[in-house]
Symmetry: C2
Subunit: 109 residues, 2 copies
DNA sequence: GTAAACAAGTTTGTATCGCAAACCATATTG
DNA sequence: CAATATGGTTTGCGATACAAACTTGTTTAC
């Protein structure tokens, strides 16, 4: 319960790194889409090595973040899912890479 | 319930990135200790901007991973905690930075 | 024609994580 | 002695990442 007399730690100073992209599986997805511009689910599955389940849920997250577009259609009576980065997604990806490079280079070695 | 007839996804191919270091708070801690060689708790608190609570738990994790040594002593009748990377921790940190740089540079831009 | 297998994903279960808040032990100060 | 400070550790909990299970429809075997 609240004890007004006690000192608190200050809240954590928010870290600049974009966690959405920092997650390696999602970085892989975004990096792939960044270069190919658009790809389907199965291509991404092979390229990233992710399982269908995890790929699916990461894609949904990237979509909620506004970083990617999911387009579902039927091809040969089978579901077919096409993915591509949004403009915002491309920008975020570039920003992430820039920050990471700065960070990694801000140390001798 | 096991259903032997059903196809399973293959297990996720393990990702090369060291999650222990990938976590930004821990990267910060390790980067600091990498350059100063040894520091106390309060110095790290100021340098990293982490709260005592989170700093404490990240330090414990780094210790369990074998990446850092925690030396507790009393100075002026007060607890004093000295931290430093182990040889293994330094190597892991260097390896992480190398892999990250490769990854970030393996894309045009 | 119907049972079994396949295809392309989605949903669920769960252990772990990262963070903030609460707590603790000792020391000092009013 | 009660309150406050110091230097941390522990607890509570919502969010996460992954694997396993499920779903919806299609094709193949018999």
């Amino acid at each position: 319960m609240a004890d007004p007399g006690r000192r608190r730690d200050r809240p954590e100073t928010s870290h600049p790194v974009d966690r959405m992209i920092h997650e390696p599986a999602r970085y892989l997805i975004m990096a792939t889409l960044y270069v190919v511009d658009s790809a389907d689910f199965l291509f991404l599955e092979r390229q990233t090595g992710l399982t269908k389940g995890n790929l699916s849920s990461h894609l949904s997250k990237l979509e909620s973040a506004g970083y990617l577009r999911i387009k579902k259609e039927f091809v040969d009576k089978k579901p077919h899912t096409m993915l591509s980065l949004t403009k915002e997604g491309r920008k975020a990806f570039e920003a992430y890479r820039g920050e990471m490079k700065r960070m990694l280079n801000s140390l001798p070695g």
